[in-house]
Amino acid sequence: MSMPEPSRPVLDPEEARRVRQQRLERIGRWVLPLAIMILAIWLWDRICVWNEIPKYILPRPGLVLQTLHDDAGLLFSSLLVTLKITFLSLALAVVGGVGLAVLFAQSKWVEMSFFPFAIVLQVTPIVAIFPLINIYVDNQTTKLLLCAWIVAFFPILSNTTLGLNSVDRNLLDLFRLNGATRWQQLRLLRLPAAMPYFLGGLKIAGGLSLIGAVVAEFVAGASGQSSGLASRIIEAGYRLNAPRLFAALILISLAGIVIFLALSLVSNLVLRRWHESAMVQER
């Protein structure tokens, strides 16, 4: 049996493999997604060329980019309008979703009694009830917010409710033993324990509130200068201006991706120290 030479630092093959893998991973993490994205765009371009798709049906990416550049002023000011509604409605969805979840966590009775209304809100098509909203709500921003909120709040409500109920039973017992009030139990135990679930719901709601803002504008319309991306899309569609339509869609997609990344970052920062989903495994 041969003894290993103690003098030179021996890296056993498994260890070497792991180090190599780590280095690769660090690079790949940013390069690969970009590469795939570029590949996808290239494919889009090729598909347009190969199938001779006319630009008024599916414009080639270059043209869309060109339009994005040419119409930048118009499109970005619209993007801002849409983002404003998005963030406001996301904030409202957080407040509403968490608020309702907390209410429901108070007792099975409350949950059973009021959850149906939440579901009704979730499944009611906005287009169908917009006339009602239109009659009883005057402010345009309020209308938009209401619509976007209806779209976005449910995942937060549902996930947070789930999280509030997923508390370690022994910890609950501990709180009970120490005579914790409902409020203390909620603030010190249930809410922190529900964090991973809530943040998961938030990531879903981020995209939904963006799409909600767009749909709201589709339905509720916008007037004059302050119109968001939905109006741009409708207008471009009506004017048969496909490049601008796709430029607007791409802005929405980018906004969605940025929102998701931002919420993922928040989630990681909050959970990094204790939850499996965000922990960096030390090895």
């Binding site: 370690d168 022994n170 017992d173 501990l174 033993l177 010190l188 324990a193 120290r273 939850h275």
Partner: protein, 276 residues
């Protein structure tokens, strides 16, 4: 009831029968919905100021008994009575598992029972840090549980249970995950504190030596169905110290407890449970 009531002799511990009963378990049974009979017909009296150890084989219902006493579980039949009615709300509990809040620092975990009683961080600071010193974790106040070793987590849990100085302390194998030296130290600390402040302890342990060293009464339980097999008084006077640990008395008492435990395990009925 006043704490000086029924004091006897200079052992510093009142005689068992003089002291006021804190709670009774009367013919308590607990059957889980799976069909497992965890406890059957348990009768027990815990007196104010007792240091009572529960000794018994794994799965005989010790943890279940503690949970029943704490009111975290209700008996399937039989009653648990608190004649004094006072102390029910003033219980410290060391669970068998550390049961820490994973998102909170060690300090915050220990602060918790005080916080729930409305004591601010600043006010709690001295008491919390004192308890952390006692369990040798003062340096880890800002660590979160997953950065601790198994024994360290358990020590945090012990510190948390004791930080309120409860009237009744329920401890479920608190020192099992600790090395013997730390264990001895904490044994001594606990005894000192107990003699000083006269609270009541119900202590689950697997160590015959530990139970004899610490308690004034040892209840031995048998398994399936969980029941009381034997009860013995440990008449040795307090304070107990290293001298006691090496005394002939101590050895004899340990042998007696061991025999009781062996007897309890010998009478082991057939495993009893209902899983298809």
């Amino acid at each position: 009831m006043s704490q000086s009531e029924g004091m006897s002799g200079d052992s510093g511990v009142p005689a068992a029968d003089d002291r006021a009963p804190l709670l009774f378990l009367r013919n308590v049974s607990k059957t889980f919905s799976t069909g497992t009979v965890a406890l059957r017909g348990v009768d027990m009296t815990i007196r104010d100021g007792d240091f009572l150890s529960l000794l018994g084989p794994s799965g005989c219902g010790k943890s279940t008994a503690l949970r029943l006493i704490a009111g975290l579980s209700t008996p399937t039949s039989g009653q648990i009575e608190w004649p004094g009615a006072s102390s029910r709300s003033d219980i410290g509990f060391v669970f068998q598992e550390p049961t820490l809040m994973p998102w909170a620092s060690v300090f915050d975990n220990v602060w918790l029972p005080l916080r729930l009683r409305g004591i601010s961080r600043a006010q709690a600071q001295p008491a919390v840090m004192e308890m952390l010193e006692r369990v040798h974790l003062a340096g880890f106040a800002d660590a979160v549980p997953r950065e601790l070793s198994g024994g360290m987590k358990m020590r945090v849990s012990i510190a948390r249970a004791m930080v309120t100085k409860p009237r009744l302390l329920l401890m479920d194998e608190p020192f099992a995950a600790l090395d013997e030296i730390t264990r001895f130290q904490l044994n001594n600390d606990l005894l000192d504190l107990w003699q000083d402040q006269r609270f009541t302890v119900v202590f689950v342990t697997h160590s015959v030596f530990e139970s004899v060293f610490l308690s004034n009464r040892i209840v031995t339980m048998a398994a399936r169905p969980g029941r009381v097999a034997d009860e013995m008084a440990v008449s040795a006077p307090y304070p107990r110290d290293e001298a006691f640990r090496t005394s002939v008395d101590y050895a004899a008492l340990c042998r007696q407890a061991s025999t009781a435990l062996e007897a309890a395990m010998g009478t082991n009925a057939e495993p009893q449970h209902v899983h298809a």
